[in-house]
């Protein structure tokens, strides 16, 4: 793709791709050469740099994923969750998770706050506290506190002891790193509750070092190491 317009100036897209590091060496050389001799494009370049220096707002996009992949078990009445999962796979349940309300102060096991859980409502998002009632189809979003940064993993465990990742997503994900932030960080992930019976426990785990999925599972129950903090929110099913 040519980096220049029909008139021989830099394309807007070229400037952006250059700054994102996406141009080939050949294209970068063409851009550098043009910038050196074109005052108009040098000015546009400066404007682009100025625009890209402005911090981005937090991403509120939440891709809804099933709380787990339901196994075919007709005796448990999985028909509905399977249909639900199919809809998810088709991308029909993607949504913008509403902006959560302002943060509240709270303290986690380990001495520092970690996790807030929210439920999407028609009016926005409401905080769900320990012991809150939830229902099938409720969409949950998460926010973590990371004033010192660190490695984070948010996950849940259902009443049958089956664990499901909330953030990061994927199969048994390892913790992901977050940079220090004085503002709580809304995670770009959400889950939709299926109809598994019983309560769900949602955990937010933060450690100073990276850790695996299996470590997180173990530490949620026992042997939480120094340098880690753990929050737990228990959610009960509406009858």
């Amino acid at each position: 793709m040519s980096p220049l317009t029909r008139d021989g100036h830099l394309l807007d897209l070229t400037i952006d791709l250059y700054m994102a590091g996406d141009l080939s060496a050949e294209a970068r050389a063409t851009v550098d050469q043009h910038r050196a001799g074109c005052a108009a494009c040098a000015r546009r370049w400066a404007l682009a740099e100025e625009a890209l220096a402005v911090p981005l707002p937090p991403l509120r996009v939440a891709a809804l994923s099933p709380i787990r992949t339901p196994a075919p078990a007709p005796s448990r009445g999985w028909g509905r969750p399977l249909a639900f999962a199919a809809a998810l796979a088709a991308g029909l349940l993607l949504a913008l998770f509403p902006e959560p309300p302002p943060a509240e102060r709270f303290v986690a096991r380990g001495g520092a706050s970690v996790l807030e859980v929210f439920r999407a409502t028609e009016q926005g998002a409401e905080r769900v506290h320990d012991g809150s009632l939830v229902a099938v189809g409720d969409r949950l979003g998460f926010r973590v506190h990371a004033p010192e940064g660190g490695w984070f993993l948010v996950f849940g465990v259902d009443a049958q002891g089956r664990a499901w990742p909330a953030w990061p997503q994927g199969e048994e994900p390892a913790a992901a790193h977050l940079e220090p932030s004085f503002e709580p960080v809304t995670l770009s992930a959400a889950v939709a509750l299926d109809d598994s019976p019983g309560s769900e426990r949602v955990y937010g785990l933060r450690c100073a070092r990276s850790f695996s999925w299996s470590e997180a599972r173990r530490w949620a129950e026992r042997d939480l190491p120094a340098g880690c903090a753990l929050d737990q929110v228990r959610l009960d099913r509406r009858p």
Partner: protein
């Protein structure tokens, strides 16, 4: 968050600024920030259309352009975009007077254009892209772009009172 090969967080970190800059061609300030969220939600929905033939930045650029145009259902607002007097808003350093005339002519056609033609018009008349570049972004042949632009100009002539 990884979704079928596209990491949304990584995309946002690397290309959020690019997308926001593109959105600012259509919307200002607070509204642009709302549209930014919409575009990334759209990116998840449309991730199967990213085939890795171009960079993710190019794919997001096209996705953003199309989303903004689709959002601009109001033909009057579209006309304002093309007739934008602010040189920094629709800045085309090499635009000739003939091109400006064409641009104004096209601006009168906005209400008649389908989304694809509007998108091609933006790339050609506003961004200054060549047929080859537009073809690459849209994943169609140069000939298709040539035909579509000829159609656009034919409509412009008719709208201007000339022969079809």
């Amino acid at each position: 968050m990884r979704q079928q090969g596209l990491d949304l967080d990584d995309l946002y970190r690397r290309y959020g600024g690019l997308v926001l800059r593109r959105i600012h061609r259509f919307y200002r300030d607070e509204e642009a920030r709302d549209v930014l969220q919409e575009v990334f939600a759209r990116a998840i929905e449309k991730q199967d259309t990213f085939r890795g033939e171009s960079s993710p930045g190019t794919w997001l650029y096209q996705l953003t352009t199309r989303h903004c145009l689709n959002r601009l259902r109001d033909a009057r607002r579209r006309r304002e975009l093309l007739a934008e007097p602010d040189p920094d808003a629709w800045w085309s350093p090499g635009a000739t007077s003939a091109q400006q005339d064409k641009r104004l002519l096209v601006s009168e056609l906005w209400r008649l254009l389908d989304e694809e033609l509007a998108e091609i018009g933006i790339y050609y008349y506003v961004d200054g892209m060549s047929h080859a570049e537009i073809a690459e972004i849209l994943g169609v042949s140069r000939r298709t772009i040539g035909n579509r632009l000829a159609e656009l100009e034919r409509r412009a002539r008719v709208a201007g009172g000339g022969a079809p």
